[in-house]
């Protein structure tokens, strides 16, 4: 125990603040703040702010199938989805719905990322934009499908690890689907050698078509 005169604690405090005062001039470690609008810190890969929708190539390649799982699971209930009336073929060649309306109220969204976590189609992901202030607190804060949709390249830019992983999974699924489709087509060709006379050709092709999609679905599921 060192000798403590009266007021020693205060004097030590003065020494400490003086050290910090001087240190802030030569030790950049001490100055943790950055001059914000001019200088922005690089964001870690995992950073999440509000959700966005990934599309391949262009908006028509939106991965979202309007399955509404995210709408259901969103703790803040800030997602609104209306299914389109027509189906489109997705990247696996499977026909799927796309959302007609996909709105996220980012004033309500709490950036928890559960939507991205539960999405089975790797469609909804978390964005990294953070300058979201608007002058009106209602309409501009509701993001529509057009604002939400962003390219896969953008996804690659902000979450490279996740995006590469997602792409490899999707490629895998696509490859499987293609081999499956090829196998089905071969089977179909084999079946076509011995056509059953009692079924009309149009009906036959239709039924084969649906069974092929059903097989693809199975392939994706397994």
């Amino acid at each position: 125990m060192k000798f403590n005169f009266q007021g020693a604690g205060i004097v030590r405090g003065f020494v400490e603040t003086a050290r910090n005062f001087l240190g802030s001039y030569y030790d950049p470690e001490r100055l943790t703040t950055v001059e914000y609008p001019e200088r922005k810190l690089a964001l870690p890969e995992n950073v999440r702010t509000v959700p966005f929708l990934v599309y391949d190539h262009d908006m028509s390649g939106l991965r979202c199938t309007a399955c509404k799982i995210c709408e259901q699971e969103c703790p803040a209930a800030c997602i609104k989805i209306i299914k389109d009336t027509v189906k489109k073929s997705d990247y696996l060649g499977k026909s799927q719905f796309q959302p007609q309306v996909f709105d996220i109220d980012i004033a309500v969204c709490m950036s928890c990322g559960i939507c991205a976590e539960v999405c089975p189609f790797d469609s909804i992901k978390m964005d990294q934009v953070y300058e979201l202030a608007t002058q009106d607190r209602f309409a501009p804060l509701i993001l529509h499908k057009e604002q939400l949709g962003k390219s896969n390249a953008y996804f690659h830019a902000i979450h490279p690890t996740d995006a590469v992983e997602t792409d490899s999974l999707r490629d895998e699924a696509k490859r499987k689907a293609e081999t499956k489709a090829a196998a089905d087509a071969a089977a179909k060709a084999a079946a076509a050698v011995k056509p059953k006379p009692e079924i009309s050709t149009t009906a036959n092709s239709q039924s084969v078509g649906t069974s092929a999609t059903a097989n693809v679905e199975k392939a994706v599921a397994t």
């Binding site: 800030c78 709105d103 109220d105 509701i142 529509h144």
Partner: protein, 191 residues
């Protein structure tokens, strides 16, 4: 740590007039709890706090639960027109409010022991004795239960609303509470 049966026996032997029931827990996560009756609850609580082999001196948590009446369908076999038939009978479960206390001991380091108290119904007979004088930690928590569930704690020194404002009429944690629609803030999400 004693088992619930042992605690029940201890209480019944040592607290005159104590009526204690064991309420089993369907989930293995936690042992069941002791249901106290209104008359002897404070005596039992004091006994649990003070007796050397239990020493439940820390009342950790007070939870209020609302059990509105539910319709339960049970299938029973009945003679209808001389033929034995399976008939669905609808019975109503009793409606009551429940307060659960979780006790621990800082001296003997054991717990939790859950105590329950039930009101007779959810309307007028919504009273249970307050345990604030036994464990001070119940003071704010019982106020919270009073505020959110409407359980009146008899003997509580300062029973006021805790979280809602004094003029508020309802008890928002009750299952049948309907929150008011704030029309000013209603915004259509889709555009």
């Amino acid at each position: 740590m004693h088992t619930l049966e042992e605690i029940k026996n201890l209480v019944e032997q040592n607290v005159p007039g104590a009526v204690v029931q064991i309420v089993p827990n369907a989930n293995p996560a936690l042992a069941g709890s002791l249901l106290l009756d209104s008359k002897s609850a404070t005596d039992v609580a004091e006994y649990l706090r003070d007796v050397a082999e239990l020493k439940f001196d820390l009342c950790s948590n007070v939870t209020g639960i609302d059990w509105p009446s539910k319709e339960v369908k049970t299938k029973i076999k009945k003679l209808v027109d001389g033929v034995e038939k399976e008939v669905e009978e609808i019975t109503k479960t009793p409606a009551f409010l429940e307060v659960v206390y979780h006790l621990y001991s800082t001296v003997l380091v054991h717990g939790p022991l859950a105590l329950r108290m039930r009101t007779i119904d959810r309307a007028e007979n919504n009273r249970v004795p307050s345990l604030t004088l036994v464990w001070r930690s119940c003071e704010l928590q019982e106020r919270e239960v009073y505020d959110l569930f409407g359980v009146v704690f008899e003997g509580h020194p300062d029973l006021r609303r805790l979280l809602m404002w004094d003029e508020f009429k309802h008890h928002p944690m009750r299952k049948d509470y309907v929150p008011p629609v704030d029309e000013g803030d209603a915004v259509e999400v889709s555009a």
